[in-house]
Symmetry: C2
Subunit: 373 residues, 2 copies
DNA sequence: CTGTTAGCGCCTTCAA
DNA sequence: TTGAAGGCGCTAACAG
């Protein structure tokens, strides 16, 4: 009985090593229950006592143990975020947004990245489960089916991008790739491009497929034939973009425009084109996807299709909260995409001469309306 | 007595909601202690029982509750990482390295970013403390003094970059800015540059100051005078780089080379120079700092001073582990930096004519040895 | 080598 | 309104 007390009162007052709710209670001469209630802002606490408690807390520089709190309350206050690759600038921008929104809603976040590796994805999920996250956003833009079940079985709220089960407790953020990509293709078509190549993302990635499909469909809508030789597979990295452009350059005929599955790819392509001594957009037009920050300052600035990170983040947290509060069981959220025209797109080669404008060789001004950086 | 058992056995076998160590124990007909031992790979468990336990675990799809485990064992298995800004590509690359090394060592990581805001820094620290991280790496390249104390008081192992207290339980990673920056300045001097500007980082950031000092010192060593008008303050962002270059362009006289406190700044500068219609490196040479991935594919590829993320990450985890194991009380780790020459640096304007080489106008080849991308 | 038991730090019924 | 007491799920002594 006194045993426990003795254990804690052996040392002098300066024992910051063990600093628990009991220490505070003793210091403020109240019970631990009162301290707990004070901390959790239970309104029924006497103002005087509360003040004493807060003083003790400040004096001792005490703060609660999240682990213990979570264990007993069942609430970890954690929202999980799984992304594919943290070194692709798109994701940090997404993480930033997700964290901001989560914090606004009183949550902290736990981040894991899969590096496109199913094994790591499995670990990520396990980690989320073990740490008892209250909900998890799987923003990898594609996920292996069997892994979903692991999560679904635990009936912990989830939100996916593009594709996910329609089981209760899970929502999905449907990105409208077609809208933005069609704008891009139409933009190119309007400039006079007919020979348009596409550097895709990794084939197994769902969102990469969707982008390719949207491209193909848009081309059709514009009455342009799709030459299979101009579909080359990238992997959403700089290196992949460079390699893809090399293949394109080695082909029989060069396209006049290249659309890319993401901006990293586009930047790689941009670089390879520069290496090849071709000019952008005079010799080749390029369009990216994502509209990362960096797109504004590439040389020339990259025309890209924007997918709002903040919108994605906000929708994800909203969905998770809806599940947590039982407001919603399953829902789809639509995320829009749209074209941002900069300076990597212009008339196809030959068109300028045809229009008697061959003197214009500087990417800074062209016939299309441009967005200032 | 039977009360507890009744509570858990009310439902049918299909109650995945409550899935604790007891369920597993019952399922495998062993005590919870044996289950615990099995999970923790205590070697003294009977192979037969262990097998039964693992089967039960698999069948029930059970996994331990990290919170409870941490609470009782006192080990959270968490290493904290505080960075300043997740949208600056340097940091994701650092995070990636830190995570990899942490995982190699059996730890998970908890990330927080401060966005250079002291208030957020305070929150980050509190968060690390509350979540009971076993050690934290403060990689913000500068921190307010009072905050350190909060951490130091808890005597939780810490590691800082550049500057930190020399109290026991904390180590510091001393980056040798001077080595790399001197290489950079010497490189420029060797090419014939005398008019070298510097775009610094935010003044209050310690590492930014160190970089500026290293620059100033190196200039001295080369016998070059430092013109104060050519020191302009940036903020380590793209936008800051653009603004800084604008200031430089508006000055009375243009430098022939610009050194930047980080790569994001350099990319901003690169962009502004492009906008101004000047050529790199023919009209202006540029050197960055950090050597982020993107530096390889800027146009032209950026000469930069590399600071290895992996080396930083590895040293940080090593330091933390040393503290955790009591091997070390305080130590400084030296992190080297060195120049990576690419194509954004060349002879100052006029030098080529002087050398009768005025025909060379293409950034792809120049008289200095270049690293292939 | 296995099982029983006492907490880890906290929240949350219950009486008072 | 406050305090006492019983767990949350797990590990780590301690007996057997």
């Amino acid at each position: 009985m006194a045993n426990k007390k003795n254990k804690r009162s052996t040392g002098s007052l300066k024992k910051p090593a063990l600093m628990d709710i009991r220490t505070v209670a003793e210091h403020a001469s109240v019970s631990i229950a009162t301290v707990s209630r004070t901390i959790n802002h239970v309104p029924t606490v006497n103002a005087k006592m509360a003040k004493r408690v807060w003083e003790a807390i400040r004096e001792l520089n005490y703060f609660p143990n999240t682990q213990a709190r979570a264990l007993v309350s069942g609430r970890s206050g954690l929202l999980g975020l799984i992304v594919s690759e943290i070194t692709n600038p798109f994701f940090p921008e997404l993480i930033q947004g997700f964290e901001d929104v989560a914090v606004e809603n009183g949550y902290e976040i736990l981040i894991s990245s899969t590096n496109y590796d199913p094994k790591r994805m499995s670990l990520c999920i396990r980690r989320m489960l073990e740490r008892k996250t209250e909900g998890v956003a799987v923003m990898t833009f594609g996920i292996e089916e069997p892994l979903l079940e692991q999560l679904a079985e635990r009936n912990i709220p989830m939100v996916f991008v593009d594709v996910g089960p329609d089981s209760p407790g899970t929502s999905v953020l449907k990105v409208d790739y077609h809208h933005g990509i069609r704008q891009g293709v139409q933009h190119l078509a309007a400039l006079g491009h007919r020979d348009i190549a596409f550097v895709s993302g990794p084939a197994r990635l769902h969102s990469a497929q969707s982008r390719l499909n949207a491209f193909s469909k848009s081309l059709n809508e514009c009455g342009i034939a799709l030459d299979p030789a101009w579909i080359v597979e990238g992997d959403h990295t700089l290196e992949g973009g460079i390699l893809a452009m090399e293949k394109l350059l080695a082909g029989d005929k060069l396209p006049t425009a290249v659309m890319c599955s993401n901006d990293m790819t586009a930047i790689g392509v941009l670089h390879k084109v520069y290496r090849a001594g071709l000019r952008i957009p005079d010799d080749l037009s390029i369009i990216g996807f994502d509209d990362i920050q960096m797109a504004r300052v590439t040389i020339p600035p990259l025309t890209s299709i924007q997918m709002s990170r903040l919108e994605l983040a906000r929708a994800a947290v909203t969905a998770l909260r809806a599940h947590l509060e039982g407001t919603e069981t399953h829902r789809e959220y639509k995320i829009d995409t749209h074209l941002v025209v900069r300076e990597s797109t212009g008339y196809p080669p030959g068109a300028m001469e045809h229009l008697q404008q061959s003197g214009q060789r500087n990417g800074q001004d062209s016939a299309v309306k441009r967005k200032k950086v």
